[in-house]
């Protein structure tokens, strides 16, 4: 018996299936392993890979089954003599190593889903508890492991994809810690060929027929599919049974034709996927049923992923080997995962109402799961909670056109209706960039205003001081001397400076062109009050005022008619006329007009987000 690993304690004979245990220098046969069921893992004994820069070789495995399928625990040995475990469950991979528990592990009857442990600075949460059935061993193992029956496992995950298992197969629980790994990251060589007749024949597609109605059936994920649904008679069949035992038959009001036909192949993220299953799930909130479709996609090496569709909105969804960290985002609940902050959007109870095709689980119409959706547009993070496990998945929004292109579907995708939870806003970023342009335009406006103020003439044309006493009976109105306004058609600023104190004055003014008789008639009130009260000193109004009048060149004079309260004391005031005075009001008006487009863009963004959140359960509190 050749050994690949010097530290192996147990091995199996490939020919006679004997289980051999090393005792000193001898090999002792302790039993025989039954023929292992065929499985569809691409890994085999002798496969080689690299983990964190260290080459490893697969030397043995333990195979388990449970009601939700089966998985392999591949025993891997590194070239430095150490060994670990590569779990392969439905093409999702975790590597872990036997670790001394930082604290006493709870006994099997005290472990529960959602229980948390703080180990090595990471918060591990129990995501599933599995009572598995030992199916056999193969190759070299670091300990004696044979003749087992039912074994309890608790799987734990962290927010950063660390992985742990508490193994209750022995007298004392064992702790294995590690992390989830991607298939491509392990750089496998010497993998099992996946196109062998043996594997294809695991459930021979050509030979399958529905035992309920005789209709032909196809299974595209042999070794992974646990149930298959006959499209003709709606029987749900046990795909792990060679006779395809009918598990149940469901009633549906009408046959539903998936928008993407089963068997369609497409490419997502550069990998080929085939649509193998379809289900409709329905929520029933306030007697308003709402349904969405889920397409199950399969790749022999990359495993499963999903396309979900609701009212023409699509999401490319993959399960994630992590438990996102729950946080508070303002008043709303939230989650943190891979550096992104997600906001809780809704919680719902979803019921499976229609199934078609094949599934790597026991499909069942009427199955209910609690779902929590968190969004960080364009991503959606969903936690699906069943009695035994919590499965987290991450979705990325896709348009119908992108899906149609990825799967080479004929025609056009149905138009999307409404706004979906994680649909990217078509206006996102527009408001921000428009405000950036606005800021630049404001800078130019300010610079322009400074230049205008610097180059404007503002020549004083006339300036004279007058006195006025309301108590005199003489005619109050008078005209000034004629003054000349030169240059191009521009303006003059008529300003009034008074010495009013707790009083008002009103000036009826007319700027009259001496030659044409054309006049500009305007009135200005000047008032100034001040005093002191319990709040301290106060003032109101101003002693000065001015008005800008656009005028053509020519000779002008001012008609002035001051008014005051009859009992008021006299005042002194100065009238000044200046030529070519910039108007600050025009710049302010320009600033206001420049603000209109970015304000509109901001409103459009807010309106889109408002409509998005009207569909959420959590506008205020979780």
């Amino acid at each position: 018996m050749p050994f690949r690993w010097a530290g192996a304690v147990q091995t199996t004979c490939e020919y006679c299936h004997s289980i051999l245990v090393r005792r000193d220098l001898n090999l002792e046969k302790v039993g025989e392993v039954a023929e292992l069921p065929r499985d569809a893992s691409p890994i085999q004994i002798g496969a080689e890979g690299v983990y964190r820069g260290k080459p490893f070789q697969v030397v043995g495995r333990i195979l388990y089954e449970y009601e939700g399928g089966g998985w392999n625990e591949w025993h891997i040995v590194f070239n430095d003599g150490t060994s670990g475990w590569l779990a392969d469950a439905q093409l999702e991979y975790d590597i872990s190593f036997l670790t001394a528990p930082p604290e006493a592990l709870p006994p099997g009857d005290q472990i529960a889903r959602a229980r948390q442990f703080l180990w090595g600075g990471a918060r591990y949460e129990v995501t599933s508890i599995t009572r598995a059935h030992y199916r056999g061993v193969q190759g070299e193992l670091p300990f004696e492991y044979w003749d087992k029956s039912d074994v309890l496992f608790a799987d734990l995950r962290t927010s950063d994809a660390r992985f742990g298992t508490i193994d209750y197969s022995g007298q004392a629980p064992l702790l294995f810690l590690g992390e989830a790994v991607g298939f491509d990251d392990l750089k496998f060589t010497n993998l099992r060929r996946m196109d062998t007749p043996e594997l294809e024949g695991h459930v021979a597609a050509s030979a399958l027929a529905c035992p309920g109605c005789g209709a032909p059936l196809t299974i595209s994920a042999p070794g992974h599919t646990l149930s298959v649904v006959c499209a003709n008679c709606r029987s749900i069949l046990d795909a792990s049974d060679p006779n395809l035992q009918v598990l149940e038959k469901f009633e549906a009001k009408q046959m539903i034709k998936p928008g993407i036909p089963l068997g369609t192949r497409g490419k997502l993220d550069g990998d080929d996927y085939e649509v193998i299953g379809f289900q409709i799930r329905t929520t029933d909130v306030e007697d308003l049923p709402d349904s969405w479709a889920e397409y199950l996609l399969f790749n022999r090496y990359k495993g499963f992923r999903y396309l979900t569709e609701y009212n023409g909105h699509w999401n490319d969804v993959k399960t994630i080997p992590a438990v996102p960290e729950r946080i508070q985002v303002g008043k709303k609940g939230g989650a943190k995962f891979m550096g992104h902050t997600y906001v809780l959007f809704d919680t719902e109870l979803a019921t499976t109402t229609y199934v078609l095709g094949e599934f790597p689980w026991q499909a069942h119409v009427g199955e209910k799961n609690g779902i929590k959706d968190f969004i960080a547009v364009p991503r959606i993070l969903s936690g699906e909670i069943s009695q035994d496990e919590t499965v987290w998945s991450l979705g990325q929004y896709m348009t119908g056109a992108q899906v149609w292109q990825a799967f080479h579907l004929p025609g056009q995708a149905p138009a999307a209706r409404g706004i979906f939870a994680n649909q990217p806003s078509p206006y996102a970023g527009q408001a921000r960039s428009m405000w950036s342009v606005c800021l630049n335009l404001f800078s130019i406006t300010i610079l322009f205003a400074i230049v205008v103020y610097l180059v404007a003439g503002q020549q004083t044309v006339v300036r004279h001081q007058y006195g006025f006493s309301p108590q005199t009976a003489a005619e109050a109105s008078f005209v000034t001397d004629t003054f000349e306004v030169t240059g191009h058609p521009s303006n003059v600023e008529v300003s009034i400076q008074t010495d009013l104190q707790n009083n008002w004055a009103y000036f009826n003014l007319a700027l009259i062109n001496e030659a044409t008789g054309q006049g500009y008639d305007f009135g200005r009130e000047v008032s100034y009050y001040s005093g002191r009260d319990s709040d301290g000193a106060w003032t109101e109004g101003s002693r000065n005022d001015s008005v800008i009048v656009p005028v053509a060149p020519g000779k002008y004079y001012l008609r002035v008619e001051p008014e005051m309260d009859k009992n008021a004391s006299s005042m002194l005031y100065t009238l000044e006329v200046k030529r070519n005075v910039p108007s600050l009001g025009l710049f302010l008006l320009a600033a206001g007009i420049l603000l209109i487009p970015p304000i509109f863009a901001t409103w459009r963004v807010a309106s889109f987000e408002g409509r998005r959140w009207t569909q959420s359960d959590f506008t205020e509190h979780e």
Binding site: V437, F448, A510, G519, E525, Y529, S583
Partner: protein, 61 residues
């Protein structure tokens, strides 16, 4: 540049402001009166301003 239409809009607004500044326009309202008799110069009291009798605010705290 992103938003070229907005940028063009902005420059048109600024060009309008430049033109208005050159023309001496302002936002204050004055009442234009034509054919004011030349006698006003000799008899200012004979002219009746359109603002005569305008409401006055008797301010103060």
């Amino acid at each position: 540049m992103r938003h070229p239409i907005y940028a063009i809009y902005g420059f048109l607004v600024l060009a309008s402001v430049a033109f208005a500044q050159y023309q001496g326009w302002s936002l204050t309202h004055v009442n234009e009166v034509r054919n004011i008799p030349k006698t006003v110069r000799d008899n200012p009291g004979a002219y009746r301003s359109v603002y005569a009798g305008y409401y006055r605010y008797y301010g103060g705290k």
